[in-house]
Symmetry: C2
Subunit: 198 residues, 2 copies
Amino acid sequence: MPDAPTAKGRATQARIVKGAAELLREQGVALTTLDDIRSRTGTSKSQLFHYFPDGKDELLLAVAQFEADRVLEDQQPHLGRLDSWESWHQWRDMVVERYERQGDHCPLGSLFLQVGRSRPGARAIVTELMRQWQWQLARGMRALQANGLVGPALDVDRTAAALLAGIQGGVTIMMATGDSTHLKAALDTGIEHLRATT
Amino acid sequence: MPDAPTAKGRATQARIVKGAAELLREQGVALTTLDDIRSRTGTSKSQLFHYFPDGKDELLLAVAQFEADRVLEDQQPHLGRLDSWESWHQWRDMVVERYERQGDHCPLGSLFLQVGRSRPGARAIVTELMRQWQWQLARGMRALQANGLVGPALDVDRTAAALLAGIQGGVTIMMATGDSTHLKAALDTGIEHLRATT
DNA sequence: CAAAAAATGGACCAGCAAGTCCAGACTGAG
DNA sequence: CTCAGTCTGGACTTGCTGGTCCATTTTTTG
């Protein structure tokens, strides 16, 4: 995605990405064609290829990055201040609410499958997202330790990795079954595990 | 997938499903065409539509069922006998080994995304798999309780749901990043949580 | 203002992959 | 044996979709 030189160009490019993201969330990547995106964003074929010379894959990758950026943003400010039980629970509620609202379409999951592991960029986007997410969880656990709410024996990095896995899996199961029980169970059990660690 | 009347027909049908499953695991659903499947399984176009009149979607659904059946089978006999710490750890190692070997292709995940939530069958397959899987985990936890290894206060169903979510998420993250750290963390933290419950 | 660069519109192309069709070969029950 | 039902082969059709191309308009720059 080469940066467009002019302000108008950047605006069009952003409009394409935003509209494509909406469309992909609505009907999934498999059913979304370039013509759909063109129509939704009020652009022409040549514009799509002007701003994404490598075609659909490049556009999908840009959408993936767009969606990945949203994931952590949507959890703020709670995710950044996990220093009390109160804040952990607020964050927990927000995660559940966010994904229940998102419904049964996982933008990143489907994009990732479509673009494929082949493209180096796809894997990098997901890996970086996971790294940052886990880091923020770990920081929150250390804050609890610092406040004496959790004992120093806790293996913070491993516990954060497990919690992140639980969230991911909970979301995945919710996408497939339409039921958020597992997501809630993962979050609640994870927090309970922290509380039980002296 | 109407059952074929003759033995020969059933054999061909099974060959198609098995070959298609291999192919899909190797190159993913997005890159696999009916011609690929036809070629791999030594069949003709007319056979594909003879046994799966509704076309590719129906075939993919059959493959999804085939893969779903394998998931729990591959965890036996350990998953069926989770009545001691020893057996839980054996099961844990087997799960890690199974998914590390599978590599970075998730047959069910990609099939599910392709066939889509639209088809009622797809959701049913995944939901049933999750239900059975969770039930077996819960049974294992109750066995630990019965043996006095875990206290009666444990909320078995919720903990089993959380563990299942952790496994799913760990696998998902491994698919995306190629790293099994999260899967191991989810399993180990989950078991540790059981051990800590008096 | 003029020229260059960027942005836009939309017709057109080519290839691919799902699905159709019919002729012909097996098979098995009576 | 025979004949109806089943299975198989493969050519053909058809619609769609990503991608190309060039003319035209708009914007920037000197």
